[in-house]
């Protein structure tokens, strides 16, 4: 007994140098950010980037009950990146896998540098990132949304972290890889940065790049971050005014 699956329509690659979805190499996918979308959370944000649908809730600063990780002189920033079982083509089993554990860790490290944690000793700020629908680049989109949720929660920060990836797909350095480009492409460089100073708080590289290509991708990702940063600000203004 053989199970045959007929092919579905996936938007596949195109001619060399062109992007499958027709974007320019430095073009972001359609982006939408909304702040304050949940009732119970202290802060929240909803973000769509291409087909990504991401929801972030922030609780805190609040009392920390786990003594083992309590810091006497500052708050702990904890992140939980989680994919809904229905967010991907093949249902994901609920609960953390190794990938989400790593992303949670680096997301926390990406956001920590801007938060005035020392104002809240012995407490915690909890950031819950839910990927309702995944379409490539969820870790960056999650960090971008988390910043907006932190701002919505009124957590004091010296800058609003923004995140974006660039990479190499179809032999070209391009911005904001789609799911298909991420999977079929040569390399992916997700970054997070402080837009005011340009300093980098998250940096990974996955795939093969010459140092020159890497630098080009890095510069492109920084450019993308700046555009997204404007949208973050608009979302906050839309909710709270100038």
């Amino acid at each position: 007994m053989i199970t045959i699956i007929t092919n579905t329509n996936i938007n596949t690659g195109t001619e060399a140098g062109e992007r499958a979805d027709g974007r320019a190499s430095n073009e972001l996918r359609p982006l939408k950010i909304e702040a304050g979308v949940l009732k119970r959370a202290d802060g929240s944000a909803y973000l769509e980037l291409g087909g990504n649908k991401i929801l972030v809730a922030v609780y805190g600063p609040r009392e920390l009950h786990v003594r083992r990780i309590m810091q006497p002189n500052r708050a702990v920033l904890r992140c939980r990146y989680n994919m809904a079982p229905f967010s991907v083509d093949d249902r994901k089993r609920p609960g953390p896998d190794r990938r989400s554990v790593e992303i949670s860790k680096i997301t926390s490290e990406a956001l920590t540098p801007v938060v005035f944690l020392e104002k809240f000793p012995r407490s915690t700020i909890d950031v819950f990132i839910e990927i309702l629908q995944a379409d490539g680049g969820t870790r960056c989109a999650g960090i971008t949304a988390a910043s907006v949720a932190l701002a919505d929660a009124g957590v004091p920060m010296k800058d609003m972290i923004v995140s974006c990836a660039a990479g190499k797909a179809n032999e070209k350095i391009v911005l904001d890889l789609s799911e298909w480009e991420d999977k079929e492409g040569e390399a992916d460089v997700p970054i997070a940065m402080m837009p005011r100073t340009g300093e980098i708080t998250l940096l990974q590289s996955d795939g093969n790049l010459t140092p020159e290509e890497f630098e080009k991708a890095l510069d492109l990702a920084v450019e993308g971050c700046k555009k997204i940063s404007e949208e973050q600000k608009k979302a906050i203004i839309a909710r709270y005014g100038d």
Partner: protein, 267 residues
């Protein structure tokens, strides 16, 4: 040992809510048999073969349905499978914690599952691919993202909507081969509809669709799962105080009208 985290509500708040109810009113101004505003967005998740986002007041659940080919249970070899799972995400409430489902989450998914299954909403026999060997399993995942009371009714409404929205690929057997055709997506074989109405007993009265504020002080909870024709398909009592037969029969009576009202959202 299963443990219920109990939120401690000051007696004074409890008393005040009781008094309001005794005066025939509710804290948010609703009538005893009035639902909060309901909104239903069907097909919210494109990657899921069926989905819905449901809001009852501020309570918000995203439901996704995903079909998967699996092995039938040995005692029902020619019947497909519906698996219901819920996560009370820590995002939804300061009292929810990360980790494996606790007893509230298990109760929610099991009651939702019974309500869908006992009412035979899906003709599961049509989900057999190769009888005895391969069947469609429908995974229904309830993602609780904002918790402001009455998860049961939202979960069942969202699940019903997601299942009605679900499409699976057509399958055919050619000799020894099974062909699964993702280009021909067909709707799930829906043969009935069921929804749930939940009531709180507060201050001796029975009120529908309890808000979180009301849930925190209720004496007892009773949920009635009902099909379109008024048949009861599921029932679940909760809370740490008793109810009377009269309470139950009253809740059933109200459910008859309210189920019809809720069904409108599915059209």
């Amino acid at each position: 040992m299963v443990i219920k985290m109990v939120t401690i509500i000051p007696e004074i708040i409890k008393e005040s809510i009781f008094n309001i109810v005794k005066n025939g009113e509710r804290t948010d101004g609703r009538a005893f048999d009035e639902y909060r505003e309901i909104s239903l967005e069907i097909g919210f998740i494109n990657k899921a073969e069926g989905s819905a986002r449901v809001k009852i007041g501020n309570t918000q659940i995203v439901v996704g349905a995903k079909p998967q080919i699996g092995t039938p249970f040995p005692d029902t070899p020619n019947v497909g499978v519906l698996m219901t799972n819920s996560e009370l995400l820590p995002m939804a409430s300061p009292t929810f914690e990360s980790g494996p489902p606790d007893d509230r989450s298990v109760e929610l998914s099991r009651v939702t599952d019974r309500c869908m299954r006992e009412s035979k909403v899906i003709d599961l026999e049509k989900l057999a691919i190769i009888p005895g060997e391969k069947v469609w399993m429908i995974f229904l995942d309830l993602h609780i993202i904002d918790y402001d009371g009455n998860l049961f009714d939202a979960a069942v409404l969202g699940s019903m909507a997601a299942l009605m929205n679900t499409h699976i690929p057509e399958t055919s057997c050619e000799g020894d081969e099974v062909v699964i055709d993702y280009e021909k997506m067909i709707p799930l074989p829906i043969q009935d509809k069921a929804l749930m109405c939940t009531f709180a007993k507060i201050g001796g009265e029975i009120v529908i669709d309890p808000s979180l504020e009301e849930e925190d002080v209720l004496d007892a909870r009773i949920s009635i799962g009902m099909k379109e024709d008024g048949t009861i398909c599921a029932m679940q009592k909760g809370g740490s105080k008793p109810i009377t037969k009269d309470d139950v029969m009253k809740a059933i009576n109200i459910s008859k009208d309210k189920t019809k009202e809720l069904m409108e959202h599915l059209k």
